[in-house]
């Protein structure tokens, strides 16, 4: 699979309105829209022909000298029916295809964007949970817009227009009557649009708040149970739901009015048209075109009137799809619009020095800016990391330790300055404060370190060296022990040891560690550091550790003290 082009989404992403953004995303796939428009037209024409056929059959049977041949009418009608409903199916399928294509491309873009943004900037923007939610649910929120709303918007113009033209051709009087009802359509559309979006958004917010409350109470069940607050919390959960119900109903009573008005007009329009035609046929009224009306005209209009209003009703129904999609677009557009300098350690660095004695990492005049922050996170920094160094990056929080480490890793491209990497430093091992354990077995987690299959014995030995022997009680199934999201039985310190074992297995000799012990208690910290530095000596590793822990500083011969950013200098 080739990487899909991001087209012009970057250029328009942040500035464009959500509606424009939705439009931009559909552009590459507009052929499906053409198909849906064509099918709508075919279906409408078949419907018109069918109405004509039926009206003619009745009229002919009642008044014509030679009555129509009924089996022929049945056959012709069935053909038209088949045409109509297969065209409609085609229209719906085209809509779904469009939604499918847009969503696929969007998801591919989101995945690549995450990789390009890199872990450091991503952590500043979102959480894994929120990101996954965006990827799955928010993107799915677009389905209705592309699959239903856009085709319905086409139909709301095309179908009445086609009916009018066909009616004009068959019977000018029928066309005139339908035309009289036409000015209602834009009025209806205005009514539908009125406040629908706002109401939808407010209700969504309210629902999210309620769901958030519910989830919060579930997450804190342990506490609630120990505090014996279960019954009180259950009552609270129920009461909150009822509160939301009362609030929602208040808005709905008004919101449903607009659709009721529409329902009223389309029902009354049919009724009124029927009554008018009836009275005209009876000869009870003589104004307007009443004198020329025949039973054919009457039945033809009566059969087409519902079809004339149907697209409008469908449009109104799909209108909330649009509101949902706009809300989703508002969160998706920025996620794809942030600057995305390609983030690849090997590519982002200046040509390396082949000299064996050259430093593994050399930073010159590196400055890093986070978007929206006035002071640079790092300003004009020089640093050289030589082979075998044990370098601690120190300084108070906010001084840029982790930022500098991310620059060393290539997770964060500097605004200015150059980074030179020794060939030995192209690849590195990474350990941060909460080692991520991937969902799966311990073996799968370790295998991540390299592409070739790692033998069990090597894994066992790496674990042994990392201080988590396979015999540990927390690993009842050895390498097959399931670890991951829930971290069954593994403590924070043990998870860090899995990360150390993984780093060992990678064979990389530059290790970048971001606050590796800050989630650990002091005893565990010392034990982990013993392991780490012993390994570093034996394997000749180069360590760069960002940490504010004294225990780490004591063990590192080299230290780089970063000063906190000084906002004063930038305030005029």
């Amino acid at each position: 699979m080739t990487e899909p082009a991001t087209t012009d989404t970057h250029a328009t992403g942040e500035r464009a309105s959500p509606g424009q953004w939705l439009h931009t995303r559909q552009q590459p796939h507009r052929r499906w829209l053409v198909l849906s428009a064509a099918s709508t037209l075919v279906a409408t024409l078949a419907t018109i022909a069918l109405a004509g056929l039926v009206a003619w059959a009745v009229h002919g049977t009642l008044f014509a000298a030679d009555a129509p041949y009924l089996p022929g009418i049945l056959l012709g009608g069935l053909v038209l029916l088949a045409l109509r409903y297969s065209a409609q199916a085609l229209r719906d399928l085209a809509g779904h295809r469009l939604a499918f294509a847009v969503k696929q491309q969007l998801r591919a873009d989101l995945l690549r964007q995450a990789r390009h943004t890199g872990p450091t900037r991503l952590a500043g923007q979102t959480t894994a949970g929120a990101w996954a939610e965006q990827f799955q649910t928010r993107v799915d929120d677009l389905t209705g817009y592309y699959a239903r709303y856009l085709p319905a918007r086409q139909a709301v113009i095309l179908t009445p227009l086609a009916i009018l033209v066909a009616a004009l051709w068959l019977d000018w009087l029928a066309a005139l009557l339908l035309l009289l009802a036409a000015p209602l359509i834009p009025a209806f559309m205005a009514i539908v649009g009125m406040g629908a979006e706002q109401i939808h958004r407010r209700q969504q917010e309210e629902e999210n708040r309620l769901a958030g409350h519910f989830l919060d109470r579930i997450r804190t069940l342990d506490w609630l149970r120990r505090a014996r607050a279960i019954a009180a919390t259950e009552a609270e959960v129920v009461e909150r739901s009822h509160q939301q119900r009362r609030l929602t109903m208040r808005t709905l009573r008004v919101a449903f009015l607009s659709s009721a008005i529409m329902e009223f007009f389309s029902a009354v329009a049919i009724g009124m048209v029927a009554i008018y035609i009836g009275f005209a046929l009876f000869g009870a009224i003589d104004y307007g075109p009443a004198g020329d009306i025949t039973l054919f005209t009457g039945l033809f209009i009566l059969l087409l009137a519902p079809e004339y209003f149907l697209p409008l009703r469908q449009f109104a129904q799909s209108y909330h799809d649009r509101a949902g999609a706009l809300a989703a677009a508002q969160t998706l557009a920025p996620a794809l619009a942030s600057p995305s300098d390609p983030m690849d350690p090997a590519e982002a660095s200046a040509p390396a020095d082949e000299d064996a004695a050259a430093p593994w990492l050399q930073l010159e005049g590196v400055t890093v800016h986070y978007p929206g922050q006035r002071t640079p996170a790092l300003a004009d920094l020089d640093l050289a990391v030589h082979a075998g160094a044990h370098l601690a990056l120190t300084g108070p929080s906010g001084s840029g330790k982790s930022t500098l480490l991310a620059v060393c890793a290539g997770f964060l491209p500097p605004a200015t300055g150059t980074i030179r990497r020794h060939p030995m430093a192209r690849h590195f091992a990474w350990i941060d404060q909460d080692a991520h354990l991937f969902h799966g077995s311990l073996r799968e987690n370790l295998q991540l370190a390299r592409r070739d299959t790692i033998p069990d014995a090597e894994m066992a030995s790496a674990l042994q060296q990392a201080g988590l022997p396979l015999e540990a009680p927390e690993l009842p199934d050895g390498l097959d022990t399931a670890i991951g999201e829930a971290q069954h039985g593994l403590s924070g310190g043990q998870a860090q040891r899995v990360a150390v074992a993984r780093a060992l297995l990678s064979g990389h000799r530059l290790w970048l560690l971001d606050e590796p012990t800050s989630a650990l208690d002091p005893d565990t910290e010392q034990a982990l550091l013993d392991t780490l530095f012993q390994l570093a000596d034996v394997r000749g590793l180069t360590l760069v550790i960002a940490s504010h822990h004294a225990a780490i500083h004591q063990r590192c011969p080299q230290r780089l003290e970063l000063a906190p950013a000084t906002p004063e200098a930038h305030h005029a």
Partner: protein, 561 residues
């Protein structure tokens, strides 16, 4: 499979029966909406034909005003019925949602702790919010349309039998049966893989969590592109299957509409034939096919109904599973309630080994029986099982061997709530609900007054900071207590424990995040409160606690004390 379906239906029935008045109202209004729509169309056709005949002098007398009044009534009652149907059905659903939330919360709360933790966070989220929302489709989009469709169809059948020879009714019944069968078959075919789809979705979520959470590692070990490509592949596969399902739903919708159209055509040809044979009058011959056509709206809702029935039943199965496991997991209710609070209900453990697997005990055997007023300090390197020991002593984890008892009763024979009547447990990983300080300190809203709350805050040296806020006791602590520092969170929890006022107190690292001076102050103020309680306190820094408290170092060879 059939049993599951029946159980799911029974569950849904139980849930929604509570609001059955509202649902019957909504269904009735829906039927009225549909019948009014059919009447509008059929009556209009009848009226036009009759007037045309009268106008041509083929019909002697015709009352114009009764039928046109009927048309107007149908138009207006359709509008009103639709409006109120929507209001009533939303009211009903929102009421049921409140019931369901309460119910599933109760169900979850009754699950044993380890069961809840075993639920993966992502899975739990999807399960609860999604499933509860899916459930409400059952009364509104499944049962409602079916019942209202049955009512509408019966009405048209009666009219057809009254006005025309039996084949007219047969056409109507046939179209009803055919649409029901076709839509059911297509829904079944389309839904066969829906279970797999839900599973795939959950799996995908796990993969996404790993991709974002482990992005640094993936990039470092040059595996990010691979992971990305596999996620994209999986998603393409998922989306493809989803599309196949959508195609089924589109097809069934259009086929049903086509069937209704064909029935109307058939009815037209039949009725015109009867008219020619002099069996029917012309207006009735037009009324019959239009009435059949009006059924399109009614029968067109059936495919969607079947479709959603499957989803709702699956969701019901999952939510119900939660409730049944909860009831099964409940221990025999041997409550301690009748026992007076100050009875000699001492916590003691005998021959206790702890851990997660019998073959690999973490610790033990141990005998523990702390004396009142002399807190037992437990220390030892991380990973030795200090926290697991407290979990076991609190009765949240069954012991591997040996017993933990409260007075004469074995701990795991006591219902959860009864246990916490006597034991306060402050574990290490602490998650406080996002609510006010007052609600945390006084969760069951008992008769504690503010003075008592302030006194407890004073004891943990937190009163001054709380006074410093504008809201005081009404200060919200944010999600996960994020508006408080780690040390403040622990002290707040400690103050809540003080207010719980239970005879046994288990504390896991209660003072992390506190500087030495604050810690000393808190210990000093807690000591009088600890006087008449059994307390076990786990710490990594025993030297900072009063030397007079007995001390058990797990790093030492274990001796049975």
């Amino acid at each position: 499979m059939h049993n599951e379906t029946r159980a799911g239906l029974a569950f849904l029935h139980r849930v929604f029966r509570q609001r059955q008045g509202w649902y019957w109202g909504a269904w009735g209004l829906l039927a009225l909406t549909w019948i009014a729509g059919i009447a509008l169309l059929a009556l209009s056709g009848w009226f036009i034909t009759a007037t045309a005949l009268a106008g041509a002098g083929l019909l002697a007398t015709l009352d114009l005003y009764v039928p046109s009044g009927g048309i107007r009534t149908a138009a207006i009652s359709r509008t009103l019925a639709r409006y109120f149907e929507r209001l009533v059905s939303h009211e009903a659903v929102l009421r049921s949602l409140a019931d369901l939330r309460g119910r599933s919360f109760r169900g979850l709360a009754a699950l044993p702790m380890e069961r809840i933790r075993a639920y993966r966070s992502g899975d739990l989220q999807t399960r609860l919010t999604g499933d509860i929302d899916t459930l409400d489709a059952m009364p509104l989009r499944v049962a409602g349309p079916m019942i209202a469709a049955a009512l509408s169809l019966t009405t048209t059948l009666i009219i057809a039998l009254w006005l025309a020879p039996w084949p007219a009714a047969a056409v109507l019944a046939g179209s009803g049966v055919a649409t029901l069968a076709v839509s059911l078959l297509l829904a079944l075919a389309g839904q066969r893989r829906s279970h797999a789809l839900v599973q795939a979705r959950v799996r995908e979520r796990v993969g996404l969590f790993d991709y974002i959470g482990g992005l640094a590692e993936l990039l470092a070990y040059d595996r990010a592109r691979e992971h990305e490509a596999s996620l994209r592949r999986e998603n393409a596969d998922y989306a493809g299957r989803q599309r196949a399902q959508e195609a089924f739903s589109v097809a069934s919708e259009q086929i049903v509409q086509g069937l209704v159209g064909a029935s109307a055509l058939l009815m037209l040809v039949l009725a015109l034939g009867w008219y020619r044979d002099g069996i029917l009058t012309a207006p009735v011959a037009v009324l019959l096919p239009l009435m059949t056509l009006g059924l399109g709206e009614v029968l067109g809702s059936l495919p969607g109904a079947w479709w959603r029935a499957g989803e709702s039943l699956e969701a019901a199965g999952r939510v119900q599973h939660l409730e049944t496991t909860a009831t099964q997991a409940r221990p025999p209710a041997e409550l301690l309630d009748p026992l007076p609070r100050d009875a000699a209900l001492a916590l003691h453990a005998r021959g206790l080994t702890i851990g997660f697997r019998r073959e690999r005990p973490l610790l033990g055997p141990l005998d523990i029986a702390p004396a009142r007023g002399r807190p037992l300090v437990i220390s030892g390197a991380s990973g030795r099982g200090k926290s697991t020991l407290l979990d076991t002593l609190a009765g949240e984890l069954p012991p591997l061997t040996g017993t933990v008892s409260l007075g004469e009763a074995k701990l795991n024979a006591i219902a959860t709530d009864g246990r916490y009547r006597h034991i306060s447990y402050l574990p290490q990983g602490l998650q406080l609900p996002d609510t006010t300080l007052r609600a945390i300190l006084n969760p069951s809203q008992t008769a504690l007054n503010d003075a008592a709350l302030w006194e407890a805050l004073e004891r943990v040296d937190l009163a001054a900071s709380v006074r410093g806020t504008d809201e005081g006791l009404d200060y919200r602590i944010g999600e996960g207590g994020s508006y408080l520092s780690g040390g403040q969170r622990r002290r707040l929890a400690l103050a809540a424990v003080v207010l719980q006022d239970r005879p046994v107190v288990l504390l896991d690292e209660p003072f992390t995040g506190l500087d030495t001076a604050t810690q000393q102050r808190v210990i000093e103020r807690l000591q009088p409160w600890l006087q008449d309680r059994q307390c076990i306190l786990v710490t990594h820094a025993p030297e900072q606690l009063p030397a007079s408290w007995p001390h058990l170092d797990l790093a030492m060879p274990l001796a049975r004390n």
